[in-house]
Symmetry: none
Subunit: 265 residues, 2 copies
């Protein structure tokens, strides 16, 4: 039997990006409670947020008994801030984004989630706005894509139902318990903030080295490169190693540039 | 590959008993369409039914693309009439009814449903009203109970989400769990020779940049770095991208070094 309290305290985080309807936020929270998820994060709800706002009121109504999840939802301005302290992030999407990331079903996600939870890794699942889903840049922030086995003729899931299916698979898997193995990561996995900070460092070094073209292709080049590096699933030690590599490769160049600029004097 | 048309034509029937809200009828229909169910039956909706009624209108709105399922829903006065032509009926319930019937989870139900469908048996799943669920007499009409693996602290599912989970498990089982798309590798995976050639290039660049210490630790540093990069599972395009990155970062340095060596002449 699984220790219910331990399951709940470490359960995956649900992140709703720019949700449009308070009712969907509430119904998502209700589904989370049905299946043992507790932590909800909101990124820039369309119509605002806060105690007494009409959005929160309709979310609380729709949540029924799960209103504490709604009231304790954490608010963020951007997705990078909302995932900064997590170790592994899944972006839900109904369509192929042509990004080089692993794609898992809810059942496959749940199997991985339970294993990683056993290794004290914090997971997040990100859901986009009702009409549009996540932007490609938002998808680009994730380690992997989570998609649903739907009838291709009707692929568009209601937001709260998508949350419900993910939570359902998690609970189903967590209750079967019995994790067969642990992840062999010698050092702790890096948080999203550490990975993002390294990617920013790399981008700056590449910018200084003239790697980018200064045109519309730059964001795509940057995203492709980030997706390659996300696949590493970096540990904290990996981040330090890769920082050292970028530093070593670019330092001589900077030294050389300083030398060259010195020549001009 | 499963024959989609055959799956759809024989898919299980969803029966909503005394549903209260048109919106829930519509959201249930939408979930049915997402997961390949097509036939909806209604037993005495609380606020009536019929073309132009406000209940049907709100159901059609909530159904989005699945409005044909709403419009073609069959209306019945009683549950016995609604299940008369079916071969096997499951009653959904959140609580133990103390009735001597088999109890199955959605996944177990789906496994049975796919087998019976193969034998041309028509299945129905019955859902009760939002607040009260099915009466004991209604449950008594069923062959078996279908219940959900929920957190016992929050067992009450939204009606449309309950329909959604049942439909999801059915589609997942009928489709053998596959999702509509997988990891998008735009270019072929790199051969080991290509990866090794890139790693050699990187080692040489790092050597030139003074990254290594020139002692016994060098082979370990090199192996750690290679292991990080092996986890990328590089495609051919990834190798080109990473070569470009290493080139850009080190090129300025080499240029600077050439300049410096020129200075000495």
């Amino acid at each position: 039997m699984v220790d219910q309290d331990a399951v709940l305290s470490a359960s995956p985080t649900v992140i709703l990006v720019r949700p449009q309807m308070g009712e969907n936020i509430g119904m998502a929270a209700r589904a989370m409670a049905n299946f043992g998820l507790a932590e909800l994060r909101l990124v820039s709800p369309r119509d605002g947020w806060g105690e007494g706002s009409s959005v929160m009121n309709s979310a609380v109504d729709a949540a029924v008994g799960a209103h504490p999840i709604v009231r304790s939802a954490k608010l963020f301005a951007t997705l990078p801030e909302a995932v900064a302290d997590l170790h592994r992030v899944f972006a839900t999407t109904a369509r192929d984004r042509d990004q080089a990331k692993p794609v898992v079903s809810p059942a496959e996600w749940a199997a991985e989630a339970v294993v990683r939870q056993g290794a004290a890794q914090r997971l997040g699942v990100v859901f986009g706005p009702e009409r549009t889903g996540l932007s490609n840049d938002e998808v680009g922030l994730a380690d992997a894509l989570l998609t649903f086995p739907v009838n291709p003729v009707h692929p568009s899931l209601n937001l709260a139902q998508a949350v419900s299916l993910v939570a359902y698979e998690w609970w189903k898997t967590a209750q079967a318990g019995d994790v067969p193995f642990r992840l062999a990561h010698v050092t702790p996995p890096a948080t999203r903030a550490m990975v993002q900070s390294f990617l920013d460092h790399l981008d700056a070094a590449l910018e200084a080295a003239g790697y980018f073209h200064g045109n519309a292709k730059d964001p795509i080049m940057r995203r492709n490169l980030h997706n390659i590096l996300h696949r590493v699933e970096m540990t904290e030690a990996d981040v330090r190693t890769l920082r050292g590599v970028v530093g070593a490769l670019s330092e001589g160049r900077r030294r050389g540039a300083a030398r060259r600029s010195g020549e001009g004097n």
